[in-house]
């Protein structure tokens, strides 16, 4: 990120041919400037990095004409901690802790990506029970993440109650995850070879108790926010990303599926126990914020379904394969990806046979969504900017790394 004082005094944000204000959303009449002979000015507004609604420390420079956004630029780097550089100085068992802090809402998915990468290089076979535990915690984590997304999305629109209801449900999930891994958020649970500890006794009773009420609560959440006409009016037709644009920008995950492309890493390149679990993948049509909302609500239902299957079908066995204490994968290169709550989290690992990675690149799904946002924001109103960022569920922790 550059010196902040330069940006605003600069010539303006419209670079050559980059930003083309798309078609205006329904109901907006784009007034030509200089109407009635008045000279008007565009304001360059700085949104963030401290702001009650941007999801993390995101700074958007928005050029507005009244309330309509003319150009937008994302200025990031406020959460850059050098995860990729630090990974070059960590043993492979410890890289998971760095991944936990990248996308900190979906820690299990990040840890799983690096674990899969190491396992592919070392050709380790993960025991069946470990795979089932991985799937279980991964779907529990997805539920926790989507509940936060739901709550903060509601909060962005001004509906305060929904945030606390989703936090109430998330507390039950975090209790379960704490019982399993010892931590509420930075789990450090999935390691190359399996998981670090077996499921504790009595955990299936806890999960069953959670699942009993969760489906009803989820219907309530959906009715309260999604069934509200004001909310629907604010998200329908907003932030449309069509499938071609989504693919060209490299968007993955729920955002891509909402645009119409049916691709889920759990189905295309199955890992952990997902080949054995039954679940549907929701796909949208239009690619607006409403579709993204629907896709994530459906994903929550599917995740609950998978958690139930995992609990009922949990096999017996080892929770981790026999791996050496210090992992030394042979020299080579590998790309391993998982379907995290935000999209495809990938780890591109380059190893030179040492006990630390030579180069680890963390493919963050939100980064590709963020650059697409710069392209789709022009033409919307200022209030829509907040809605679009909220609907795409960007996470600065993984963007900045």
């Amino acid at each position: 990120m550059t010196d902040p004082t330069e940006d605003v005094a600069g010539v303006g944000l419209l670079a050559e041919g980059l930003h083309d204000p798309g078609p205006a959303p329904a109901g907006i009449r784009r007034a030509p400037s200089g109407v009635d002979g008045l000279t008007t000015e565009h304001l360059i507004i700085n949104m963030g990095p401290q702001h009650p609604s941007t999801h993390g420390v995101l700074r958007m420079l928005i050029e507005v004409d009244g309330e309509e956004v003319v150009a937008a630029e994302a200025s990031i780097g406020y959460l850059h901690r050098g995860i990729e550089k630090l990974a070059e100085h960590r043993r492979y068992n410890a890289v998971g802790t760095l991944m936990d802090r990248g996308d900190y809402m979906s820690g299990i998915h990040g840890e799983m990506a690096i674990a899969l990468a190491v396992e592919q290089l070392m050709e380790i076979e993960v025991p069946r029970k470990a795979n089932w535990i991985r799937s279980l915690t991964s779907e529990l984590n997805r539920l926790a993440n989507h509940l936060v997304w739901y709550g903060t999305f509601g909060l962005d629109t001004g509906a305060m109650g929904q945030f606390l209801y989703s936090m109430r449900d998330r507390e039950a999930l975090l209790d379960i995850l704490e019982a399993i891994s010892g931590q509420r958020m930075m789990f450090n649970y999935v390691r190359p070879g399996g998981v670090v500890a077996d499921l504790p006794a009595g955990i299936d009773a806890k999960i069953r108790a959670f699942l009993e009420t969760f489906d009803t609560y989820l219907d309530e959440h959906d009715a309260l926010l999604g069934g509200n006409e004001i909310f629907q009016g604010r998200v329908k037709g907003i932030g449309v990303i069509d499938a071609g644009k989504a693919l060209a920008f490299g968007i993955t995950g729920p955002n891509l599926r909402a645009s119409g492309a049916d691709y889920d890493v759990r189905k295309a390149k199955p890992y952990a126990a997902f080949a054995e679990l039954e679940f549907d993948v929701p796909v949208g049509t239009v690619g607006d914020a409403w579709d993204r909302y629907q896709v994530r609500m459906c994903e929550m239902r599917q995740a609950a379904r998978m958690v139930r299957q995992c609990i009922e079908g949990m096999p017996e066995g080892e929770h981790i394969a026999k791996v050496p204490k210090v992992l030394r994968p042979p020299a080579g290169e590998v790309y391993a990806c998982v379907e995290s709550s935000r999209g495809e989290t990938g780890i591109h690992l380059v190893s030179r046979g040492e006990d630390t990675p030579y180069r680890m690149h963390y493919r963050a799904p939100s980064l590709f969504v963020l650059q697409a946002l710069e392209d789709i924001l022009p033409g919307h109103l200022l209030a829509d900017v907040v809605m679009i960022i909220g609907s795409t569920d960007v996470m600065m922790g993984e963007i900045d790394r």
């Binding site: 990120m1 693919l247 060209a248 591109h348 190893s351 030179r352 690149h361 900045d400």
Partner: protein, 150 residues
């Protein structure tokens, strides 16, 4: 998969001596010269690789190896295009072919010390002015004493 005709120099892969010595589990990879990158990517995009999944660089010790990771959802196949550039080289931006490369290119150029050409917004992305290219092997992580001294 037929990349552009002007093909690779000796493939100095990042994973050890070359892609034969260190095993690459990536699948189909094309090693091309730096000038041929845009042509190769455009050819691949015409062939159906409509998505850029990732773009990053790696400091191999003598040079910087850039990797473009493409995917065709229709064929469900991944492809990698790798090229090697010297330190402080100028890299042509591929955003016209794949707009998904906008921010990854900025990040790679900034953290590995390259210069971007043809990019609409080639400014730094993640670090502030004055920070050295952090991902180079020559830039060391600060020791505890250094951190305390500041």
């Amino acid at each position: 998969m037929r990349p552009d005709a002007t093909d690779s120099s000796a493939p100095t892969g990042a994973g050890g001596e070359g892609t034969e010595a260190g095993m690459s589990l990536l699948g189909q990879t094309a090693h091309v010269r730096a000038e041929a990158v845009i042509g190769t990517l455009a050819a691949l995009k015409d062939e159906g690789y409509e998505s850029l999944v990732d773009m990053f660089g790696c400091d191999t010790g003598e040079s910087i190896e850039l990797t473009y990771h493409l995917r065709s959802y229709a064929k469900d196949r991944d492809a990698y295009v790798k090229t090697v550039v010297p330190y402080d080289a100028e890299v042509a931006s591929v955003w016209n072919v794949y707009p998904g490369a906008l921010m990854p290119e900025r990040e790679t150029a900034e953290l590995l010390g390259l210069h971007l050409a043809g990019h609409p917004n080639p400014r730094r992305l993640l670090t502030t002015d004055g920070v050295p290219p952090l991902l180079r092997r020559s830039v060391a992580i600060r020791s505890v004493e250094e951190v305390k001294r500041r």
